[in-house]
Amino acid sequence: MDLGNVFHLGIKELRGLARDPIMMFLILFSFTLQITSSANSASETLNHAPIAIVDEDQSPLSLRIEQAFQPPFFTEPRRIGWNEMDRRMDEGLDTFALDIPPDFQADLLAGKRPEIQLNVDATQMAQAFSGAGYVQSIVSEEVSEFLDGYRADPRPPADLQLRARFNPELNGGWFQAVMGIANSVTLLALILAGAALIREREHGTIEHLLVMPVTPLEIMISKLWSMSLVVILGTLFALVVMCNMVLGIPLQGSLALFMLGTALHLFATASLGIFLATFARSMPQFGIMMILVLLPLQVLSGAQTPRESMPELVQNIMLIAPNTHYVILSQSVLFRGAGLDVVWPQMLWLTGIAAVFFVVSLRSFRGFLS
């Protein structure tokens, strides 16, 4: 292998990339807006949850409860009749329906322990679960304020002091932003390396390269290093400028260790990109393949939802995917400040996967050329 050739061909790739406005836009977008928007999308607080109230009591207390539900968390509660409740829930108009029974206030004061019923439309996953808690605590609060003065609260005998480590305020934006970077890295490595090969094929320049004194190995490595370099620089920018400076996310752990992991991951993913590109006959086909490959890779990597919640089989299959290990590695290093003593298995996995992907894709690249 001639390092000079690898270098010059790589420079050529970089120049070509700089002249490709769509790819440049994609890179820029992935490492800036994409990160901030993932960070902002994380707010899962309740927003205008539709609630209806069946008020069979018509007492000052029931009115007080009704008035406690206010925008922006809830819509203005809608007073409905008992018979409307089922139909409205069936049509998906209300996520919550609170049924206050007749004589609620009177029974409460009489210590008869009356029951309020809260109906939740559980097909509305996100709203249903976070909202039900809110509704419960709002009702309890109103009731106990109403009862205030009648009785004093007993003090709890033991207290539980729960604290979250690594993200004390449980700011969802932190997680989303960093996982957004991991997703961008995977996406760009796949697309840039694949597109670099398809671009050559569509322009007929690949044959031209082959009659020159360069080997397929040199061509492939030149694409890998140049595209990886772009993504590495983008990742650094996204981490240091976007996450740390703009979004104010504290980064734990060693940046160098994380970047080393990123480089390994890039090497594996870019190889995969080239491998896929040898099967696609054109850019459009490559685009379709990306839809079918990228989505599973990202959704099942653990960047969206925890790996632990997936079926065993899926978890095991996903061990082949480089970004599974990359996601584990970035969470460990960037959030928990883990060192090499902790993430060495991921590094080992990534190295192994990168080596295998590289060899396989070099083989199919050679086959593709002849």
Binding site: E91, A122, G172, H208, V214, R281, M283, G337
Partner: protein, 911 residues
């Protein structure tokens, strides 16, 4: 009013593509009933003019009347399009590669509304006349260039046109096929004397046979007249010369006759040798026992059609391809693809222009110089030499894409020569280059050969170029027919020109003859010209024709077919398994300083829950820190010393807990669990101590999770995900189907045939709607049987709504297709344009009743919203027709609205 002897009247017609002016105030008449040729090099506006006359392209300036009517009028175009046939430029451009010969012609027959019997007779006639009978079932993509063009002609002639428009029909076709093609045209014209034929060609030899010529250059008409008149007027012997003489003064001035001094006889030193060279791809023999020897410094030509094995032979000589059999030697040494050194002595210029468009001319030269290992100090000098020699000084900092073709060819040659190779291998270097630039190019080649002793191996399909070579080989179907000096070949075969000699050799080799058909087989002669049924009404046959073709093409394209059939299923599996919000199996460990029965009891109730798994106890705070950093623990608890005793004595005690917050959603849920368990532990303690009354609250709140009592995320998610998936992929496929035609060029068939926009769109949509309906069933089965989501409502209503919904989804793809240019853009635009609004506004995440203002409006108009209501209602809420019908109507209404919008946005002409 057009006179009957004129088929088209062109007045001041101009056409511009953005800034480039393709036609500049062209005015001329095209005589009727004649064979009229448009001559001139590439890029002078021939194709643009033909596209305008055929009605495929939209008029910009000027007036154009064809067959007695204004081509600006859509009604006139609709009326005359069954009388015009148009075959666009490019081998098989109007054909469908994966369809067989018969299927291709049949498709066109249906477009012209011919019934089965009529189609079969006509197709049989046409295939017999063109000699394609034997290849009836072969896919068009696997035909040779000549056969493709004959097939294109069959497709054009299926409806007996009065005006036949052919755009460079014989470019890249071997001389025998070319001759056969023109004979075929002659016979057809003999059978239909009234038919006008309008042809663009780059071959002057061919043009000489035409009745009338229009010579074009730079978007203008230079002259018109019969070939003899043109030659007489310019006082020249050949059309080539006549054309050059017609060029404006400044362009003509650059032209010099090519002068090639005779070659010096060398001492038998061979630069290139091929011995029995054979290449097979599977059972197809691309190159069959080719042998030749090329002495040093000679210009050696390979003459043959597209696909005859020229390029493959060249690739074997350069080591790009391994030979199956035989030997290839360069400078007496066998070619070894692994041997990089030999490549430094070879310069190669491939058929397609293959320099980097994204690099400047100077950067291209520099890159190649470096790759060929020219010492860095010598590079500037060497580049300077090339720039001077090939006159590239003025364009050093421009990008090749912006340069005219002739200049780009010179740049390619400069790049191929940068490392001063001994051998130059040039694969059809001059196709598409104008005569002046071509002669200049050949002069450069002559200088290289004679002055620098470079051996040049060049392939071409131009006879006049072949005549300039020292020796040539005639190639056909992978075999060398003859190899000698051009003049000798002509003399030996007793022919007058090289073309005739080549044809004689071809006939000998293939056993075919030019006039293999009896004249009575000429198609179309007896067919009375009946106008096809009015195109104004909706043609079911034309629509089905597009639908059938789309289905056949999809079946033969594995990647798109895989996306269509398995795409949604795969994504459903991924999402079903991947997006699981249930938090379980949290790992926790305790640092228990108390070690009492009370603390043990506290720990036991946590480890007893199904959410937590107990890990080995924590030994110290360092141990806790290490294990949490390593991600081994989700929860760590610290129970203080004397916890049990203090609790009993009623002192303040505090348990410390740390939760891994790196995934906040998970952490928040886990916190909720721990708090809840802590409370209930306290409660049970109090209940034991003081009896049940102490813990009874003021009131009870009964929580009913309806429709999904076990609050499983799959049960909630799957009915919401199905509408999203059934939108994404069907919309993407139908958008692709339209944009693909536009990108491949076969959309022209839609422009020039009587198909209406509605027929076209519905035909394209139908197969994808059917496939999406199949997907709907598969997804439903997957949901019920694999994900175990109970289906509680009315299945029939759900499926009915599903079919309506996928029709709307595919229609949405058609609307999107109007806005995107390339297939890649179609993939991404559909992904973003459908998924984002679907997730945002359909009520998937936020219920519709939570939305206000514009969001609420979009939400009510978006079809996904309504299907989402139906899907949830039918799956989880046990609803039937009466409850779901309010959502069915908007869904049904959206289909005609979307298709109508798609038809409105679709153009029946290229703009």
């Amino acid at each position: 009013m057009t006179s009957p002897s004129v088929v088209a009247e062109i007045r001041d017609v101009s056409l511009a593509y953005r800034k480039v002016r393709a036609l500049d105030a062209v005015s001329t008449d095209i005589p009727a009933g004649r064979m009229v040729g448009l001559i001139g090099p590439d890029g002078v506006g021939k194709s643009s003019l033909l596209a305008l006359v055929s009605g495929a392209r939209k008029m910009q300036e000027g007036t154009l009347s064809v067959l007695g009517g204004d081509m600006r009028s859509a009604r006139h175009r609709q009326q005359v399009c069954p009388r015009i046939a148009y075959m666009p430029q490019g081998l098989g451009k109007n054909l469908y590669e994966t369809l067989s010969v018969f299927e291709n012609v049949d498709f066109f027959g249906r477009l012209f509304n011919q019934d089965r019997a009529e189609r079969e007779t006509r197709i049989a006639d046409l295939l017999r006349a063109t000699g394609l009978e034997a290849f009836r079932d072969r896919p068009a993509g696997k035909l040779s260039g000549g056969m493709k063009q004959k097939l294109g002609l069959c497709c054009a002639l299926i409806h007996d046109p009065d005006l036949l428009i052919l755009d460079e029909p014989t470019t890249g076709v071997d001389p025998l096929s070319r001759r056969q093609f023109w004979d075929l045209i002659d016979r057809i014209r003999a059978g239909r004397p009234g038919m006008s034929v309008l042809v663009a060609t780059a071959y002057m030899e061919e043009a000489a046979r035409f009745d009338w010529l229009i010579a074009m250059n730079a978007g203008r008409v230079l002259d018109t007249g019969a070939p003899e008149d043109l030659m007489a007027r310019t006082g020249t012997e050949t059309l080539d010369a006549a054309f050059i003489a017609l060029l404006p003064e400044d362009e003509r001035a650059a032209h010099k006759e090519v002068v090639i001094p005779p070659i010096r006889e060398e001492d038998g030193d061979y630069a290139i040798e091929a011995g029995g060279l054979t290449k097979r791809f599977g059972d197809f023999t691309a190159v069959d026992r080719v042998s030749f020897r090329i002495p040093r410094g000679e210009i050696f030509g390979f003459l043959g059609s597209n696909g005859c094995g020229k390029t493959t032979t060249m690739k074997m000589l350069t080591g790009l391809l391994d030979a199956t059999e035989g030997t290839a030697k360069l400078f007496g040494k066998e070619v070894d693809p692994q041997d990089i050194a030999v490549r430094r002595r070879v310069g190669y210029m491939s058929q397609a222009f293959s320099l980097y468009g994204e690099l400047t001319v100077a950067q291209n030269l520099d890159l190649h110089a470096r790759l060929f290992k020219i010492p860095p100090d010598d590079i500037p000098g060497r580049i300077g030499e090339m720039v001077a020699r090939f006159d590239l000084g003025e364009v050093l900092n421009s990008r090749p894409d912006a340069l005219p073709l002739g200049l780009r060819q010179r740049l390619s040659l400069a790049v191929a020569m940068i490392h001063a190779p001994d051998i130059l291998i040039l694969d059809e270097p001059t196709s598409g280059v104008d005569p002046v630039a071509r002669d200049a190019f050949w002069q450069s080649l002559a200088d290289l050969s004679r002055n620098d002793g470079v051996t040049i191996f060049v392939s071409t399909h131009f006879m006049n170029e072949a005549m300039m070579c020292d020796r040539i080989s005639l190639m056909h179907a992978g075999r060398v027919l003859v190899s000698d000096r051009p003049a000798q070949i002509v003399a030996d075969s007793g022919a007058e020109t090289l073309e005739e000699a080549f044809i004689a050799h071809l006939e000998e080799a293939t056993g075919e003859t030019v006039t293999e058909e009896a004249p009575e087989a000429a198609p179309g002669a007896p067919a009375p010209h009946e106008p096809a049924s009015g195109p104004a009404t909706f043609g079911l046959r034309r629509m089905l024709s597009y639908a059938m073709r789309e289905a056949m093409e999809l079946r033969r394209d594995p990647i798109r077919a895989a996306l269509a059939v398995f795409g949604s299923l795969l994504l459903m599996l991924v999402i079903g398994y991947g997006i699981n919000m249930d938090v379980e199996d949290l790992r926790f460990a305790v640092l228990d300083y108390d070690q009492s029965t009370v603390s043990r009891d506290y720990i036991d109730q946590i480890s007893g829950s199904r959410y937590f798994i107990e890990e080995a106890p924590i030994t110290s705070s360092e141990d806790m820190d290490r294990r949490m950093r390593a991600g081994l623990l989700d929860l760590a608890l610290e129970i203080p010393p004397d916890f049990g005793r203090d609790l009993l004595r009623g002192r303040d005690v505090e348990i410390g807990g740390w939760i891994d917050g790196s995934n906040p959603t998970r952490a928040e849920t886990a916190m909720g669990y721990v708090q809840g368990m802590h409370q209930s532990w306290l409660m049970s303690g109090m209940r034991e101590a003081y009896g049940p009354a102490a813990v009874a609250g003021d009131f009870g709140l009964e929580l009913r999770y309806r429709y999904n009592p076990d609050i499983k995320s799959l049960v909630a998610m799957v009915p919401a995900v199905i509408p999203i998936l059934l939108l994404l992929i069907p919309a993407m496929l139908s958008a692709l189907s339209v944009v693909r035609e536009r990108e491949l060029g076969s959309i022209t068939n839609f422009y020039v045939t009587p198909v209406t926009r509605l027929e076209f769109l519905l035909g394209k949509q139908l197969p994808y709607t059917v496939l999406a309906a199949v997907n709907l069933i598969l997804l439903t089965l997957l949901a019920i049987f694999l994900f175990r989501v109970p289906f509680t409502g009315d299945l029939t209503v759900f499926l009915l709504a599903g079919v309506l919904y996928v029709s709307a989804a595919t229609a949405m793809g058609l609307v999107i297709s109007a806005f995107v240019k390339s297939q890649l853009a179609a993939v991404f635009a559909t992904a973003l344009g459908t998924i984002l609004p679907a997730i945002q506004f359909s009520g998937m995440v936020t219920p519709v009743s939570s939305m206000e203002g514009v969001s609420a409006l979009i939400s009510r108009a978006y079809p996904t919203t309504h299907f989402m209501t139906i899907s949830r209602g039918a799956f989880s809420k046990g609803l039937g027709f009466s409850e779901l019908s309010p959502a069915l109507w908007p869904l049904a209404l959206s289909i005609p609205v979307l298709i109508g919008l798609g038809a409105l946005l679709m153009r029946k002409q290229e703009t």
